[in-house]
Symmetry: C2
Subunit: 227 residues, 2 copies
């Protein structure tokens, strides 16, 4: 019996929430479709009505979590003056519970398919928002470039590469700061960003990197104490 | 009985070759350790002497294939005048049989763990070579920058993002050419690369993109004919 779209969607969200908890508990690779189907309390036919593979469930989880995160950031950006939007982008790390769980899973399983997919989609889904901010910045004369879209894409990818231990060889805090300086050198030369703006961006980047560094160090210390 | 390193290494290479063929035939996700162990003709203990997990075998395959590819490119670069090294980097697509098989597997399974790991390691393992080329280019006055290492890293990652349907949202040929232009704009402004050099880089990039495009189109046409 065909369901209406309206009845279908909230149900799917419930399934996605259950699935993420199972992946966190048992690991994505180890979880089977049968296990998920039983947790969903669905028949074989009912299951295939929603998802035809484990990877499809994973993709739905990632899309759902990131879409929520993007909407949240988009909402907040509306309240912020144009020039401050990029600083906000760098320094903000808030996210809803679902996305937080997902990011946590990624941090605990850095080389898993889940982590790779999430990192890639994270870049892809936030790019439209970064392009909007770049275009607004060009409109007010903050940046000058013929390549707003491409430089927004590049900046998003490079900023993610600086923060994540992925995309580029892992580096210590000093190395990451050098990468920030190199990225801001591109902002300065390729987009003619003014000095006061670069200074604020540098502060926001450094602050975010140092917070991340402290957070990771305290995590390592806690783990060592437990041993 | 402990083996000498000399006897150990060639044997491991044989196992890696067998494993890649099995991954290609059955898919990495579907292959089990037992299946690999039997193909290797090893006892359970013998197997764990070499590899303790399927992922370790995959990592060894990727390291082996890419290390060979890097050495091959490094050898060829020695024979090329400095200014032409970067054009060569962009336009060359030669690789040994093992690496070719591996790249083929990645192209056929774009969203697999194998593909993600290979793309990441491909960037990481080639970066030292790109840094060398950038530093030489600075020495002869072709590029001018305080950030040779970081801009070499960024350029490698961005060039890969332009060629691979990964890291950034997929784009058509025109979009990819715009990304090349934006990357060369960075070369021009952030590294003060001269106009004649940029023209040659652009030609090399466009040529490589068009070749890739034609190759993919003919592949799609062949698949459609078969249906």
């Amino acid at each position: 019996m065909p369901k209406t779209n309206k009845a279908f969607e909230p149900q799917k969200e419930t399934l996605i929430n259950i699935a993420l908890d199972i992946f966190i508990e048992y690991g994505y690779e180890q979880t089977t479709m049968t296990q998920l189907r039983k947790a969903f309390n669905l028949s074989v036919g009912g299951m295939y009505h929603y998802f035809s593979s484990k990877e499809e469930i994973l993709d739905a989880i990632i899309q759902h979590g990131l879409q929520q995160a993007v909407e949240e950031v988009r909402g907040k950006l509306l309240e912020i003056p144009i020039e401050k939007k990029l600083y906000y982008f760098i320094s903000d790390s808030s996210a809803n519970d679902f996305a937080m769980k997902l990011y946590q899973y990624k941090d605990d399983n850095k080389n898993s398919l889940v982590a790779y997919k999430l990192r890639e989609q994270n870049v892809n889904l936030f790019i439209p928002l970064v392009i909007e901010v770049f275009e607004e910045s060009i409109n007010i004369g903050l940046y000058k470039t013929e390549f707003p879209e491409e430089l927004a894409e590049f900046s998003m990818l490079l900023a993610k590469a600086i923060f994540e231990a992925s995309f580029l060889p892992e580096g210590n805090l000093e190395k990451r700061k050098r990468r920030v300086d190199a990225l801001l050198h591109i902002f300065k030369t390729a987009m003619k960003a003014p000095e006061y703006h670069l200074k604020k961006l540098r502060l926001a980047f450094y602050f975010a990197l140092e917070s991340q560094h402290k957070f990771l160090n305290s995590k390592i210390n806690n783990l060592e104490k437990k041993q």
